[in-house]
Amino acid sequence: MKRARNVGGFAASALIAGAVLWSLVTTDVELSRLLSAAPRIADFLGRMFPPDPTVMSEIVRGSAETLRIAIVGTLGAVILSVPLGILASDTMAPPAVYRLVRTLLALIRAIPLILVAMLMVGAVGLGPLPGIIAVAFHATGMLAKFYSEAIDNVERAPIAALESAGAGPILRLRHAIWPQMAPVIARDTIFRFELNLRESLVLGIVGAGGIGFYIQTYVRSFQYDKAASVTIAVIIMVIAIEAVNVALRRRFT
């Protein structure tokens, strides 16, 4: 038994080492080329400074659109995730149903957001709408799974206790189930909103709306100082989002 595990461990190590070597050799990571590129990289960075502050109005407009995409996209995901979460819960749905829905959700999670966005741009055209649809679709894969876990983690004993005390199904839902689920759902939704906002920053690159559009435009037209301003704005936004959400999530324990 032990010997078998050692053989397996050796095989895994060899496989990883092989994969790393193969990647290094075939991707022509040449130190000389990296060194010769150094001045070009320095020049590129130099052209980003000083960042051009005149693009402030574009930054505000783009950020607002990204924020709207994330908000409406999250709302769409919540609306889809409530029924799907119930259907993916093993305490609410029969095995055939929750297994199917869980597989479906895993498939949705496996498709990167940017890919969904590209397909949606193809389907409905440029602008924030494909972004919103992509965010709602992509986020549902995770959010519906979280909701189903929130449902499955509800303790049964307090429900039985309220029933024993003569409370009907609506009151049991309101006073035994809801207090157990609501904070978990709030926390999960805020977390997913944070991810949606971060991920939708780049949606503009494929034409699906938001601030990413400007990064792409300025880089393509060699206006690196403007691209730098937008990048700085994006970094500030990400930090701010995380700070706000950490503070919010702490309220729901």
Binding site: A160, A161, S164, G168, L171, P183
Partner: protein
């Protein structure tokens, strides 16, 4: 005096197990008394209490609780369930809610529906809940969340919830088995005192004959799903309790024999 509980030939066996959890159980309980249900693990105490609370299906025999017959195939109407209070061994509280909210949960069936739904209890409901908290010695914990409490405090909250329900019959399933002997006596003392103050009948199950002696007027001994004795507490002899627990079908015993 009308009996709080009257049963005849109760029988029940858990799905898949050939052994009866209850067999030929007959009980007659006068209203307003405190009754202890003694017996080893697996004697059928929890099964009997669950049946009397109207939460067991598929049993046989006849059972009348507070003057209404129980139906083996369906739960009693909600309004009637409020008259029977149940205290769970594992408390069964909503951990994330406050103590006061949990105690008010016991009164949901007594409130107007919309007050109950919107969690806007009337001043009268709040007074009753706070009195129950006082009787359980935890008035100062009203605004605390249950998940911040100790085991003994949680059991007091569970009892307060049951008292706030204003039941005429209180069924308590091993209400003190998780507590040390001093706390156990405290809790049973406050439970039986509060029940007496409200004129409610109390049936509590326990492993400890000395607690039955101190807090019950009547003791019922159960073993292997049968009632082996039913007597006034002062008649309970040492022999009877020793016999009750001797060679009980303890799930551990075959293992212990192997070890020995």
């Amino acid at each position: 005096m009308t009996p709080a509980i009257q049963t005849e030939d109760l029988a029940f066996s858990h799905l898949g197990s050939g052994l009866p959890a209850l067999a030929e159980v007959a009980l007659l309980t006068p209203e307003g008394a405190a009754i202890a249900l003694l017996g080893p693990s697996g004697a059928g105490k929890t099964t009997l209490l669950t049946l009397l609370d109207g939460r067991l299906r598929g049993w046989h025999g006849r059972a009348t609780v507070l003057g209404s017959a129980l139906d083996p195939d369906r739960a009693p109407p909600l309004a009637r369930r409020a008259d029977t209070g149940f205290i769970f061994q594992e408390f069964a509280l909503v951990e994330r809610s406050t103590v006061l909210r949990n105690v008010l949960n016991g009164r949901l069936a007594r409130m107007e529906f919309f007050r109950a739904l919107l969690a806007r209890p009337s001043p009268n409901d709040v007074t009753i809940a706070r009195t129950a908290l006082e009787d359980c010695g935890i008035a100062d914990l009203a605004e605390r969340r249950v998940d911040s409490l100790s085991g003994g405090q949680r059991q007091r909250v569970a009892i307060a919830r049951c008292l706030a329900q204003e039941p005429r019959l209180i069924l308590a399933d091993e209400p003190v088995s998780n507590l040390d002997p001093v706390r156990a006596a405290e809790i049973l003392s406050l439970l039986t005192r509060a029940a007496r103050k409200r004129g409610a009948t109390t049936v509590f199950s326990s492993h400890q004959p000395e607690l039955a002696r101190r807090f019950a007027e009547r003791v019922i001994g159960m073993r292997n799903g049968r009632i082996v004795f039913d007597m006034a507490t002062e008649d309970l002899s040492e022999d009877a309790t020793v016999q009750l627990y001797q060679d009980a079908e303890n799930p551990l015993s075959p293992l212990l024999q192997v070890v020995q």
